[in-house]
């Protein structure tokens, strides 16, 4: 088997593992869908209280559509940041981290393979958010913007995966309580504009938004999905997201390999 075929086979095996583990908990996915539906419903009724504020005009003017896109991005933030820390934490508890990393499977293959199931589930979740919002609550989200949304989402996923891998580096060493996921998720909620436009923030705080990757993802995604913006309108967002990817991905891979090495030296790889 060639190296490439072997890598694909290994990633497939990790994907099937995660899918089987997920399905071994019969109601978990159904409960997640139910929770998502209930939350979307709550957002719909909250949006009835918010009538055409001027701050939402650049985004099409409607709060429900605005916040649904915010929730989709928030899902991708949690996916990127959470999936690696969850995966490492689960493996440490099960005692399988040492066994997997003691097999001839490279770190990058292990991380990539462990990411496939959460990615699939998040895409399904995004589709459910959009379907629920459009079909049940009559949200005005033109799907013609979806092709441009794909590169934005892809860059966002890579950016947040990098943050997730950085975060997992802490978990490898400290086992619990990494600061990166906490900061990234809180910063995403407050400064990226998940629930409200960043223009409502006071000046100095609004300036902080430019350092938050999710801000560019949200701006771009809302532009293409809510205002029918073209490629030229979101090039800036794509550029900044690409910059985050170029800086964060190598940094995350290097940090994670150093964390694994440190855990191997201290003998704490399998601790939890």
């Amino acid at each position: 088997m060639s190296d490439r075929a072997s890598t694909i086979a290994r990633m497939g095996a990790l994907f099937r593992r995660d899918l089987r583990l997920e399905l071994s908990y019969h109601f978990q996915f159904a409960m997640r869908v139910f929770q998502m539906f209930m939350f979307t419903t709550s957002l719909f009724f909250v949006s009835k209280l918010i009538k055409n504020p001027p701050e939402l005009e650049p985004y099409g003017g409607r709060y429900f559509e605005f916040v649904v896109i915010g929730m989709i991005v928030a899902s991708f933030v949690s996916l990127g940041i959470g999936s690696f820390t969850t995966s490492i934490s689960d493996e440490q508890r099960a005692g399988t981290l040492e066994v997997v990393l003691g097999s001839p499977t490279g770190l990058a293959t292990f991380l990539a393979g462990s990411f496939l199931k959460p990615l699939l589930f998040t895409v399904v979740q995004m589709a459910l958010y959009l379907t629920t919002a459009i079909v049940i609550f009559r949200a005005h989200i033109p799907l013609s913007g979806l092709p441009l949304a794909v590169p934005l989402l892809a860059l966002m996923v890579l950016t947040f995966c990098a943050l997730g891998v950085l975060s997992a580096s802490f978990i490898v060493l400290t086992k619990r309580g990494d600061p990166i996921s906490l900061i990234a998720i809180q910063a995403g909620t407050l400064f990226a504009g998940v629930l409200f436009p960043t223009s409502v923030l006071p000046g100095p705080l609004e300036a902080v938004t430019r350092f938050v990757p999710a801000y560019y993802g949200l701006e771009g995604l809302r532009a293409v999905l809510l205002t029918r913006a073209g490629l030229g309108d979101v090039l800036g967002d794509l550029f900044w997201l690409a910059c985050f990817v170029v800086v964060l991905v190598p940094m995350a891979v290097w940090t994670f390999s150093q964390a694994i090495r440190a855990a191997r030296v201290t003998g704490t790889l399998g601790n939890y």
């Binding site: 593992r17 089987r20 066994v99 003691g102 097999s103 191997r264 030296v265």
Partner: protein, 235 residues
């Protein structure tokens, strides 16, 4: 395979020995002697701060991938398996992670489940007894047909019958050409299963030699091992 660590380190200070194909080497010593540390170093799970260990000429730190392709490791606890997957699914997964194709892993899993005589192959590991999990861990370690099998107290939580079965399997694997390094607290087991014994105390090797040579005064090799261990015990 050659293992050597010559510089002073905390857990393991002086350890130099080799395990040859077809040979079973027993690693004995009191708790905290450094047996698991040594096993984890050879298993590429722990990096030595000084010294060198190699498998088939490949250094465990600088060529860890090549080493992993040549070893199978069973750690002391019966974790290391996905408890919410069946025994068969565990082996198929680890088979692919070991470098086998999917059909190859399926066939190898079936053969190894036969070898370790594991029943209830499609039941979740969660419902397995300790003995069944030990059998499954042994099968997992054998997936890539390793040159070196490393076992950390493989009979720790087994009943006497199951422990005897493990002993017979280890001897059979050695007969097929596998090198086996096995840590154990059970000296009778080391005497009956191993060709050579390595006595490790306080992170240092105190004795390396053939088990048959231990019985110098007719009182038995196990008795001699007890005396070696007791000699270093604090009074």
């Amino acid at each position: 395979m050659r293992v050597a660590a010559s510089e002073p380190v905390h857990a393991l200070q002086e350890a130099s020995f080799s395990v040859e194909p077809g040979e079973v080497v027993g690693l004995v010593g009191p708790n905290g002697a450094g047996k698991t540390t040594l096993i984890k170093i050879i298993g590429t799970l722990l990096e030595p701060t000084h010294g060198r260990a190699s498998v088939d000429g490949f250094d465990v730190v600088t060529h860890s991938m090549q080493v992993r392709e040549r070893i199978g490791v069973v750690l002391a606890d019966d974790r290391g398996l996905y408890w919410r997957l069946s025994g068969r699914r565990n082996l198929e997964l680890f088979g692919v992670l070991s470098g086998l194709t999917r059909p190859g892993a399926r066939a190898r899993a079936e053969a190894l489940l036969d070898l370790v005589e594991l029943t209830d192959r499609d039941k979740l590991v969660f419902g397995y007894s300790s003995g069944m999990r030990t059998r499954l861990n042994l099968a997992r370690a054998l997936l890539a047909n390793p040159q070196l099998l490393i076992l950390d107290e493989p009979t720790r939580s087994l009943d006497p019958l199951a422990a005897t079965w493990v002993g017979e399997l280890v001897r059979r694997l050695a007969g097929e050409g596998h090198a086996v390094l096995m840590a154990s607290h059970r000296l009778d087991e080391v005497v009956s299963m191993c060709d050579r014994a390595v006595v490790l105390m306080g992170g240092e090797i105190r004795h390396v030699g053939a088990v048959r040579d231990l019985d110098v005064d007719g009182r038995g090799a196990a008795r001699r091992l007890v005396e070696m261990l007791a000699a270093d015990e604090p009074v």
